[in-house]
């Protein structure tokens, strides 16, 4: 097992938003956490990725409690792409990607030959080689998201966390980002844990889906067991028709009305 969360309780502000979550992520899986607003999915991914401390409960990476490992050691295996990120006006794509090597650098050491190789590899993987000298600020939304993914790749991670990676992107960029994530998962065996808003995209790109409701896991399983009219009604308060996408071999739905 790659990652595991055991009986996680968490607060957002003063409000209890996670009420005893158990979650398991196998090696090489794409796992997506879905749920309505306020269901606690963002808090859950923050706790799993150690950006937030749980009130109680533990997170394990390959069976080891993450509070027992230094954050720098974890960073050699786990990369995070959060929603909130800033760049200075004058940082280049290559400069940003090079920060991905930070957890692997010894104290006071500069980027070496091998690091440069990995940076160039990450740029290539994300099709950014031609844009490497551009300022990140001048990129389109999709390119910018790819640059952050390239930075995460330069960490040479085994696990990648993505918190709503498609928010604010045009539909073509959304697909581009998710296709890239899928490709990285297949070619590198990268374990992916993400939060998505779009349920059809979750169904199409995930191996397993966890559904949160009111801070508890409502259900988890393969997409075809999740995208069901009863679950969509109980969790998301919509009435829907379910279809099968023959091309991508996954279920999808069209929401008809609010209940």
């Amino acid at each position: 097992m790659k990652m595991e969360g055991k009986s996680l309780y968490g607060k957002y502000g003063d409000k209890l938003v996670l009420k005893g979550i158990d979650i398991k992520i196998e090696n090489g899986e794409i796992v997506t956490i879905i749920g309505p607003n306020g269901s606690g999915k963002s808090t859950l991914i923050k706790i799993l990725s150690r950006c937030l401390k749980p009130m109680s409960g533990n997170v394990f990476l390959e069976g080891v409690d993450i509070t027992k490992i230094s954050t720098k050691e974890i960073a050699k295996k786990v990369a995070i792409l959060p929603q909130v990120k800033n760049v200075s006006y004058d940082i280049t794509v290559e400069g940003l990607v090079s920060y991905g090597r930070y957890p692997h650098l010894k104290f006071g050491k500069r980027i070496g030959e091998k690091d440069l190789e990995i940076i160039h590899w990450a740029l290539e993987k994300t099709a950014l080689t031609n844009l490497k000298d551009r300022y990140v600020n001048t990129l389109s939304g999709g390119e910018r998201q790819r640059a952050w993914i390239a930075m995460a790749l330069a960490q040479k991670p085994e696990v990648l966390f993505l918190d709503e990676p498609t928010t604010y992107l045009d539909i073509s960029y959304q697909l581009e980002v998710l296709e890239l994530v899928k490709e990285l998962n297949e070619s590198l065996g990268l374990t992916v844990i993400m939060v998505l808003h779009d349920l059809n995209q979750a169904a199409r790109y995930s191996d397993n889906i966890y559904v949160l409701k009111d801070g508890e896991i409502f259900q988890y399983g393969r997409p075809k067991n999740i995208i069901e009219s009863k679950l969509l009604k109980d969790v998301f308060r919509i009435e829907s028709n379910i279809y099968t996408d023959e091309v991508n071999n996954c279920p999808y739905f069209i929401a008809n009305k609010i209940i």
Binding site: C51, K76, I80, P82, V84, Y89, D90, G95, Y102, A152
Partner: protein, 325 residues
């Protein structure tokens, strides 16, 4: 490459500023004579002027410039806010208040003013940090707590001055920041901390670069965000506190110099730190020279000069270069 060139220019600027500051005054001494009298003619009159009067003052000016601008550069990064400066974490107002307290209520202990100001600055910083700590100390909360605590100390200072109007006169030099009557002894108050700051910052530029990307990104890259932020805040309060304790409230440098340096050399702290060191030193040395010669033999506090020339120049840069996002 371009950035290294800018850095070399800034280094040259600081060397020129040093010789101007030491050479210009009631007695003018050329750079050649400065070097000669320091190293070869140690019994000359020039040597007395240079060694006992000008050099301590010039070195102090440089150290103050370095400390304040490094402090500001750190805070603007840590807080991810262009308005952050030593004022933001309460250094200036608390140092000012502690100094006033000693100067007005215990005037006999006036030689404890530097120490008092320094301790006041440190304590206020820790106070603000613990006030804003709630499941982590977020930059916005730090800034708001800093503003609130600062205004509290300012109110205290104003109160003191209202109750003891007769004793205010000796305090004014401290409130606006001045470098007159600096001796070698004052340098000891600041030199160790400036060196400490520089030594630490040489190893940490990337950590600050990464902290700017956001707390979660920094965590993902293996930076312990809370600990790093606390270390940087304490470091910047030590730097600014030691500077304030020697020259008084010279607030302009910590805010503006890092911004100007950023305009010259970019926002990468690998260059911004050394850039701020040399530019900060130059700015204060030049402004102090001006403060001595502009209305000689009268002397205007260096803080006044700095704002009078620096603020318009900064506004000009702001209009010209749109990099302040």
């Amino acid at each position: 490459m371009r950035k290294s060139a800018v850095l070399i220019i800034l280094i040259l600027l600081s060397v020129i500023s040093f010789f101007l500051s030491v050479g210009i005054g009631a007695v003018k001494i050329s750079p050649v004579d400065i070097v000669r009298s320091i190293f070869y003619e140690q019994d000359s009159v020039n040597y007395q002027i240079i060694w006992n009067v000008r050099i301590p003052r010039t070195i102090t000016a440089a150290l103050v410039g370095i400390s304040l601008s490094l402090s500001g550069a750190i805070l603007q990064g840590v807080m991810r806010n262009p308005l952050a400066s030593p004022n933001t974490i309460g250094v200036s107002s608390s140092a000012g208040f502690s100094a006033l307290l000693i100067l007005i209520l215990f005037p006999n202990y006036y030689n404890l003013v530097p120490l008092g100001a320094f301790l006041g600055a440190l304590l206020a910083t820790l106070f603000i940090y613990s006030l804003s700590y709630k499941n982590g100390a977020l930059p916005t909360r730090l800034i708001l707590a800093g503003v609130a605590v600062s205004s509290l100390f300012s109110a205290g200072s104003n109160g003191l001055m209202t109750f003891y109007p007769d004793r205010v006169h000796g305090v004014i030099n401290f409130m606006v920041g001045g470098l007159s009557a600096i001796t070698w002894k004052d340098i000891n108050m600041i030199l160790p901390y400036t060196i400490l700051g520089i030594m630490i910052l040489i190893f940490l530029p990337n950590r600050l670069n990464i902290l700017i990307l956001g707390d979660e990104i920094a965590t993902g890259l293996g930076v312990n965000v809370e600990r790093t932020r606390l270390i940087f805040i304490i470091l910047s309060s030590i730097l600014a506190g030691s500077a304030v304790s020697v020259v008084g409230l010279l607030s302009f440098v910590g805010l503006i110099v890092p911004h100007m340096t950023r305009m010259f050399i970019g926002s990468d702290y690998k260059y911004l730190f050394p850039g701020s060191i040399f530019f900060g030193a130059s700015v204060v040395m030049i402004c102090d020279t001006l403060s001595r010669v502009l209305f000689a033999p009268a002397e205007i506090p260096v803080g006044v000069i700095m704002s009078a020339f620096g603020a318009p120049f900064f506004l000009y840069l702001l209009r010209k270069k749109e990099v302040m996002k």
